[in-house]
Every structure is written in structure tokens, then in C-alpha cells.
Subunit: 337 residues, 4 copies
């Protein structure tokens, strides 16, 4: 089985290539790159031990040789390519934001661009396997979630699905490594500006907020509004999302942990920590796991759920491969050691 | 005017020595260190350009030569020393937690040790000059605040004093550099365990919480309970406290900024940022400044106040020198560049 | 095939466990830890996705269930354990320094301890597969090289074996990440002392120097003395060794690169870079590869060879698994993706 | 006394502004910035506590109000501006490379641009106060040295001036923080490319080499060629230069240290460490000091001299202020606490 990666030389694309090179059940067909076409990807990312050469995008060739295609292009550039691959009957996993938001006018507002593939939006499964495994298995098009949404939805799903918390007043204070901002040069990733610092950003509105609200609302079967403040941390990889919510009623700690265990018992990549334990970023980077710690203060009906993952793996490319495994009928864990 | 530093070779003590070496109006008398008595402090901290030698603690000598003494000893060790200096008529600034909590039983619960100087507690001014300048000027004993409390109280004071926010539901998500944990060896400051990571700690209760609740309650003239979650960040210095609260009523942004300007107009070390601007740690380290950014979302009555400071300067030793300046009748900014 | 790890909770031992968990041809039998016996290793290293529990050392049990045993104990502690396993007929890979130095009096001088297993020294193959592959395949006891020696020997071997450089005046300026110093608490790995700094250490003599001189002398068939200065870099993993030597005669660049290609053509983990390219640590960490760049200045007969590797992988545990593969008749690359 | 800074918003310019703001004897006149003209410099560098606004370059105004002007422009841009200021009778300190190399054809080769102010080259004093204090005091134009050259010349001067080492075979392995590369965006300062890495660069020729060779040759009164390999280290500030040379004859350690003490006895910013001590970058950053450690191995006539400094302070802006102090007849240390 051959799969291809369109947009292989961003951080997300390169991570995807790395994971797929070690995958025992699929082979890499084409990898494409606008900036580095004709070059070996190992010249751009010498940590990749392969002789694969980056191609220009040639959808005919890619379609003929691939059973499934990953599209890791910037948002708004992605949608056209996805549509063409879809129309040729290919399975597609889109790592951009283009098919995550089901309401195109919400997308258009936050991403400040027209959505040209609105009819395709309803075909897209939201690629969070712990929640939508069945849809993903049957889907031809999967919208791979954002890194922050993955960490937040996994943290809050058991609470919302079981109606344990108030819909109002959910606060998420998130912290992310710098690779999340991509390989494009910007003062916000210029070493001396970032190192030995830390700062909040997009305080008054981050693009991942509507994506999170959409998914959390589906779970709650009610409109959920959240307060979301991300912070940039001087590390390469990893996210910690510290989520604060209000319990509807006092609940025994053991019961709350029980809901989490029930939700994630057969989720091989989600680890619910024991009471009193909380995640460290170092324990999840370079893995597809999401680790979740929970604190409960019944005196104030406060619950704090803290989740951690690697933004490039479970927050992007590892999750994409997990989705691929489901779409191809493979074991979910294949190649994600 | 000579001043002395008891406990000069912890990170806080050494920062104090550094600031005092550059202070134009006072001279350093004794500096003491249990671990390094007899050694030049520049052998322990080669960044300090001085020939000063660390002494054993000799309270007679220290008292006779010093107009004011800084005590930078661990909590519970500090209180006895402070009491002896106080009884000899010296002005004292205590950088430990021993005189910050006015209710000794709260202290004893959180610090798990008996308070042996209860009568002295009521003599201590809480050393936050922006709030208690007048008391500090007249005090003989100043309890220098904790680093997190300084960042949080300065962030929330204008809101609570002006009764703009609900007393319930205040959440503080704080991020601190590693120097805050001190020079004592621990796995939690072992380089490979911390670098490229980030983690929450003391999620279910941090010692600075009662200190913050005490001060915030005084301002609000009501009992304030907060949710406080600190995180350890792989940087040497600096704190960002991201504070979430609920407005009692919709308020024009300009009015809110006006309250902050009023509160801090004559506070030389507090900088209220313009709307849309938020602090970066790099902008405050190695300075005594606290920078504060504010976001308002009236649609949900949500206000977010984000403050930043250097935990070793405005969060400890710089603030102690600011207090000293007030106690000695000097300009508040002297020696604090 | 089952293999065991004695000393599994140091950084080297834990890396070994991580690699072996993903190895397709062997299973982990016992893992032992003095400090954490009875605990799951994932409680100590949560990045390890396993339920394995650390045992006390029980050589009978370990011998009966294991075909090969890795010993990752501190030097001088290791030798007795190795001898007992060897006498029970087990294949052993020792990651300590105890069997690297063939002359026991040199060992005793540099490691300041008696060598109690001198007769076993001559049984030990020096575990650098690129040089001693044949011996390693047949050996029952392999002394896994130090991290610095691996980087330096691989850098200089083609020059010395082909008699291209002077024996005098070889200088090695090495830079290493902090994990090389281990998990034991020390001020030299205390975060605020190391972060944003860099310093030379052991300038007047490092224990890896006699190991390097022994091996380089063997290659040169002459006594080689080197100047070796290591530096501690604020990163977790990785070594760059910058080696300076004097060419015996002017040589065409292409010829020099040719010697390197010849030496390493069938070495899957050594990558000789093209002229003008030099290694970055980021390109080798988390891999078993050693990347080598070469600069030649014939006008001064100067050659500079710069090698890089991950001190925990090719410099320790990855190399140990590479040795295991050879000793068990497996493909050298198995499990080292 | 008013001084001005042309090019105030690069890292070097901003550091200069910071130091001058705290200088007790001079006032800042104009500060200029092409990119940020009309903006407060504290909007670009919020760590600067000033209301100063960046101007366009207006040489008439700058000349009329300033006794001395710092020019912190890129090389080749600088020379014209310097010439104009010089011709108006202003004292000038140039922080670019334009007046450091006395031989214009060497300059033109390494900097790949024509030198248009050749006649002015002979007026320029090389601004290393520890060596050229007398010239600097009398000079109207000072060429402020590069950061690497400052660290290397201070390390080797006592050896060359006293003819203690061979002229052949000097090797300098240098390590620098990222601020040395400036504020211009480049992949080589993009956070995820640099963090947790380290790499050599300009291995086959760095622009600072001819500057070092020029100065070292003057001291030795013979042509000195060096091998110089710089490395980029993931820290903001600081340089360690590890210099290897061959002693002409065996020399008592004490004598060698004596030569260093003699050379630097009245140099307030150079600290020669005791035998067995070597510098850490953390001990010099944010200061104007250069710390030097020395190791001698008489058995091989090898001497290793390791120097450290802050590339933005003693390696650039602090040294520029030290030069200014001399040119204005002030105490060398003024404002450089």
C-alpha cells in the first residue's frame, strides 16, 4: 500500500514522513514540496534517513500510485487539492484547517478567506479517533484536528458527554512549544526573542477557538463558549492545556476518574493519570500519547483537567497516521510505537 | 548607611547582594552564609564583582554596624533571627514567608511548622510598596511578599479595590522560571528533567495561595477564594500570571484601563500596557518592573489580566530594595535602574 | 530471545529499555534497579510505554532467562557483576568503563579504584562495530565505548589507519549535552547553573582520554597522545567533537573524502557529509547515526574533522544494541530504525 | 555631554542604548533607526525604560548636539556615515567591521564590497582598551573590535607579546550565543532549528579570522596564521573561545600566570582565573568582563587558554562605552558597573 504526502517539508509534513518511513504496512509514494522540489528531503531534514526526493505536485501521478494521500498544505491552499484528490476517489487526510469547521461562514470569518469547497465539508470526518473512530473508519476524507483542539477535547470530553460540568465558564490556559508556529521565518520564532521568555498570544481570539467550541458543543449537545489563552514556551515540542471548569454538583473523585477510565479504556494513546499525578511535557514528546491529570476541589465545585501531547505527533502527524490506520483497516497503533 | 544580608548565598540573597553593590546610597556591611562562611561570595557567584567575604551570623556585630538588615533565610529558620534583630531596634526586611501570613494558624498549616513569634506578626508591614507604601515607610519590620503573590496582587488590585469583579471564580494560571525553586539540588531542577519540558505543580494547593487570598480579601473587603495553578517553565527567571475573572457588569474597556492607570500612575515599576498588548517575560527580567496586559470580553463578562515580573527582582530582591528605600526615606527607585 | 538490563533506571539504562521495547527480535526479561526495585519503570520514566517492573539484581534468575545481559552500572560496581554473568556463560555487554581499558594500571589510575577482574580484560572486545565488527560477532563480553571516544575514533580512524596525519598535535574540542552527566543530582546539572551558560570541564584530564589514546594508538600502530577538552552545553542530548590534526602531506580533498567513503561504505550508521557540509546536533539526536564533516586547508596541512552523535544512542545504548545485534547474528540495524 | 547612536534597533544598538541610559556622565541625544523611525525604542525593546523616539539619520542635527557618535550600522553601510561625522569633527566609535582591517584589500576580499574610505583607515584606533588604551584616548575614530577577536586577542596577547608560543599551529575553537547573528530573520536563528542543537559554521573561513590574524601578528611582530572554528550555541548571549597553542619551551605554570597578571593588572574588566579554574558563560553575561582560564601541559608544550565574555557587552556595546570613556577623559569603568 502506497501513500503520499503533499507538503512534505513543513514541520508537520516532515514529521509525517518520519513516521511513515518507519511504518511497517505502508510505503511512501510521492512526497511533494514547492520550495524544495528536486531536492532530497534529507538535505532539508538531515534527521530523515531516506533518499526520497521531493516532487512538484502532480495529482495524476500521485493518484495513480497512492491509496491514500496526506495533504499538509497551508489552510486555504489545501482545499482545492483535497477536492481534486477526493474527486479522483482517493482517501484523503487533510492536516490543514480547511475541513475542520463545519460551518463555512465561521471558517471564512476566522481564516479570512473564502471556502470554495463547501459541499465537501459534510463529507469530512473530524479526525479525532478517540471520539469519532467509527466515522473515520468509513470516511474518505478526514479533517485532522488542530493541536490545541486535540489536547482540549480529549481533556474535556468525559465531563461534557456525561454532563458533569457547567457549560459556562470553561477556561483553557494552554502552553505550546515553538514548532507549532511552523518553519516560516518570523520574529516570533527568532531565537533571541523567544529563548528565556514566555508570552501569551492571540489573547483576544485564536483560530482554534471556534474549532474547539464546535466539538465541545457537539459533545455537550448545547452551545459551549470557552475562554482560551495560548502561551508560547521556549521549547521545541509539546503542549500542556490546563482546563478549568465548574462541576454541576459535588462528585466523588473516584467517580470522576471512573468516567475518564470508561471513556478511554480502549484508547491506546490516552493515559489517564492517577489522582495527584499531572503530566510533564517531557513524557509525551516524540510519542503519539496524550496524558491527562485531574484535580477536583469539591468545596468550590472546581475541576482542573490538564492534558499534554506532542503538537507534531498526537497534535498533527501521529494523529494523521492513526487516522490512516483506521481508514486502511489496520490496527490503530501500527507504526506509532 | 550600612545594611547587611543574612543568607547571602541562595539565589535571592545573591541577587540582593548584586543590587546592593550597585546602590548609590547604602554600603554592604556583613553578608552571611552558613554553607560558605569564610569564602568570598565571588567564589560562589563569580558574576558578583566584589571581594566581600561571607561571615557566620553574628547578630551583635551585624546590629552594631547596620541600619537595616535583610534576612533571606528559609522559612521557619528566619523568624527567630528576625525577632532578635527587631528586639535590638534594627529595621528588618524578611524575605521568607514567616511574617507574610497574619493568621499564625494558617501559617502553621501551610508551612507545617510552629510560629514562635506570633506577637511580632502584627508589627510586620506587607512589603508591596504599590499598595502599602505608607505602612512600609513607617515600619521597622517588613515581610517581603512572595513572587507569585506580587504578580497576582498587582494584576487584580484595581479590579477588587473598585469592586469590578465577582469574588467567586477567580482563576490564576501562573508560569515560573526555575530559579524560583532555589539553589538546593532536587530532581525538579535537574537539567535533563526540566529542559524541553513544562509541567504544573502543587495543583492541589500551593503555599502562596493563602498569602494571595489574604491580600486579595483585604482589598475586596470580602473573603476571596482563588484557584491557583503554577507551572514550571524551562527558563531561569521570570513569571507570567494569567488571571481570569468575571466582571460584575459590562464595562467600557477604556474605563477599565482608566482604573489601572489611576491605581498605578505614580508606581514607577508598574507598567500598564496599551489595549491589545500583553507582556513577554524577556521584557521584565533583570529589572524591577511588573508589566500588565488586560483583555476584556464583555459579551461573557470575562476579564483576563496578565502580569509579568522577574521572580528574583520585583518578586524578591528588587522589591526588598524598593522597601528598603522607603524605610530609609530614599527615593523608591534608587539603585533599581 | 530474552535479554536483560541490569541498572535500568539511569539515563543510559532507560534509553536501552526504550530501544529494546521496540526491537522486533528480542524480548526484555528482567530489568533491575537498586533505587526503584518493585516500581514500574514507567513510574520513573513515564515516556516508557510498558508495565515492566524493576527487580532487585538476581543473577540466577537473570541468567536462566536471558541469552544476553546488558550491564549499565557505575564503573567499579560493574566489573563484579559482569564477571559473574560471564562465568555463567552469558553473553554480556558492559556499558561502564570497566572493560574498556586494556591496561589495568591505566584504568586504576584514572578511575581511582582497583580492577578486580584483570584476567577478564583480555576477553573483552571493544564495542565499536565500525572498527571491531568481527571481534564483536564472536565475543562473549563486549565493552561498550564511551560517548566521547565513539565520536572521536569514528572521526579520526580513516586518517590514522591510512597514516595521513601526524601523530603529534591532535586536538579534540568536544561539546556535550547534559544527559551525559547522568541522573545523579549535582550543581553541575542544576538547571539555573547550566541553562544560558556553557563551560569547559576536566580541562586538565578527562577519563575518556586514555580510552581514546588506546584506540587511536592501535589504529596508528604508534603511541598517540591527544589534547582533549570537553565542554558542557545546555541541551539534553548530543555531542559535537571538533578534531584538529596536521596532514603529513598535502592531499587532494577528493582523496581524503575517498578514504572516508572507503572506511564507512558499509557502515549503516556513519554518514560522511559532502565537502562544505558540517553536522548539526539536531540531525543525529534520537538516532544511532554519527555524522562526520571534513574541512581541509592544504596551505597549512590542517585537517578538521567534526563528528556528531547522540551520547545516549550511538554514544551508549544504541551502540550497545548494535553490538547485541552482531553478537546474536542479527542484522546490525535491527531495532535501530 | 550628549552622545548619539546611529542604528539603535539592532541588538548591538539596543544594548548600547541600555548601557548609555544608565551612564552617569553622558546623555543620549539622537538615536536613529531606519526600520523604526518615529517609534519609541521601548516599543521595539520593551525592556528599555525610556521615552526616547527613534529618528531618521540627520547628520547635521546629530553633529550639532553630540560630542561623540556611535555608529552601529551594518558593515559597508557604516563607512560613509562615519566619514561624514569624522569630517564634521565629531568623535566616532564605529561598531561595524569597516575600520577594523587596516589593509583595504583584505577587507574587500572578506567583506565582498569596496572600501570607499581608505584614507580614513589609518586614522582609526583599534578599540581594544586593554591593548591600545593610549591610542584610543587620543583618537577621533575608534574601530570597535568584533566579539570573537576581543575574546581571542585578550586570551593570547600575553603569550604572543612575551614570545612564549610558536607562531604556527594556533587553533581557536569558539562557541557563541545566537544574539551574535543579529536580529535579521534567518533559518539559522529560527528557534526550532537552533534549540537543542549546536553546530560549527564558517569552518572554511570566518570574517573575523583576518581581524584576529592582523592583531595577533602585530603583537607577535611576525605573521600569525590561525585556525578558527566558531560554533553556534543555543543560548542568547556569551562566547567561550578555547585557544590551543604550543609553548616554545617548558615554562613554570606560575611564570605563565605571572605574565597574565602583569598584562592585566590594571585592566579592570579582565579577570585571570586561578590555576585549575575555567570560565563559565553565566559568570560574564550582562557584564563587561572577560574571564580567562589557563591550562599548561609542559610534557607536550601544550597551553590552553579559555576566555569568556558577553558578545553584546565586552564583545560590542560595553566595549564601545569603555572606549567612549577613554575618549572623553572619563574613568574607564564609568557606567559599566
Amino acid at each position: 500500500m502506497k501513500v503520499s504526502v503533499i507538503g512534505a517539508t513543513g514541520y508537520t509534513g516532515a514529521e509525517l514522513v518520519k513516521i511513515l518511513l518507519g511504518h511497517p504496512e505502508v510505503k511512501l509514494g510521492s512526497i511533494t514540496s514547492k520550495s524544495f522540489a528536486g531536492k532530497k528531503i534529507s538535505d532539508v531534514y538531515p534527521n530523515l534517513d531516506t533518499d526520497l526526493v521531493c516532487d512538484e505536485i502532480d495529482l495524476d501521478r500521485i493518484s495513480s500510485e497512492s491509496i491514500l494521500v496526506f495533504v499538509a498544505l497551508p489552510h486555504s491552499v489545501s482545499m482545492e487539492v483535497v477536492a481534486k484528490l477526493y474527486s479522483r476517489g482517493k482517501k484523503v487526510i487533510d492536516l490543514s484547517a480547511d475541513f475542520r469547521i463545519t460551518n463555512p461562514s465561521v471558517y471564512e470569518k476566522w481564516y479570512e478567506t473564502a471556502h470554495t469547497q463547501k459541499e465537501l465539508l459534510k463529507e469530512a470526518a473530524y479526525g479525532l479517533p478517540e471520539i469519532y473512530g467509527d466515522e473515520i473508519r468509513k470516511a474518505s476524507l478526514v479533517a485532522n484536528p488542530g493541536c490545541y483542539p486535540t489536547s482540549v477535547i480529549l481533556a474535556l470530553a468525559p465531563l461534557l458527554e456525561n454532563e458533569l460540568i457547567e457549560e459556562e465558564g470553561i477556561i483553557i490556559d494552554a502552553k505550546s512549544g515553538v514548532s507549532g508556529a511552523g518553519r516560516k521565518l518570523t520574529l516570533n520564532a527568532h531565537y533571541p526573542e523567544i529563548n528565556e521568555s514566555l508570552h501569551p498570544y492571540a489573547v483576544e481570539g485564536h483560530r482554534h477557538t471556534p474549532e474547539m467550541e464546535q466539538e465541545l458543543s457537539k459533545m455537550a449537545r448545547k452551545k459551549i463558549n470557552i475562554t482560551f489563552v495560548p502561551h508560547l514556551v521556549p521549547i521545541n515540542r509539546g503542549i500542556i492545556s490546563t482546563c478549568y471548569a465548574t462541576l454541576k454538583a459535588s462528585l466523588k473523585k473516584a467517580d470522576i476518574f471512573g468516567f475518564y477510565k470508561d471513556s478511554y479504556d480502549d484508547a491506546p494513546f490516552v493515559q489517564v493519570l492517577s489522582p495527584g499525578e499531572f503530566p510533564h511535557i517531557k513524557d509525551v514528546i516524540y510519542s503519539n500519547r496524550c496524558r491527562i491529570g485531574i484535580a477536583v476541589d469539591n468545596s468550590r465545585r472546581r475541576i482542573i483537567v490538564i492534558s499534554s501531547l506532542d503538537n507534531l505527533v498526537k497534535g498533527a502527524s501521529g494523529q494523521a497516521v492513526q487516522n490512516m490506520n483506521l481508514m486502511l483497516g489496520l490496527d490503530e497503533k501500527t507504526g506509532l510505537g
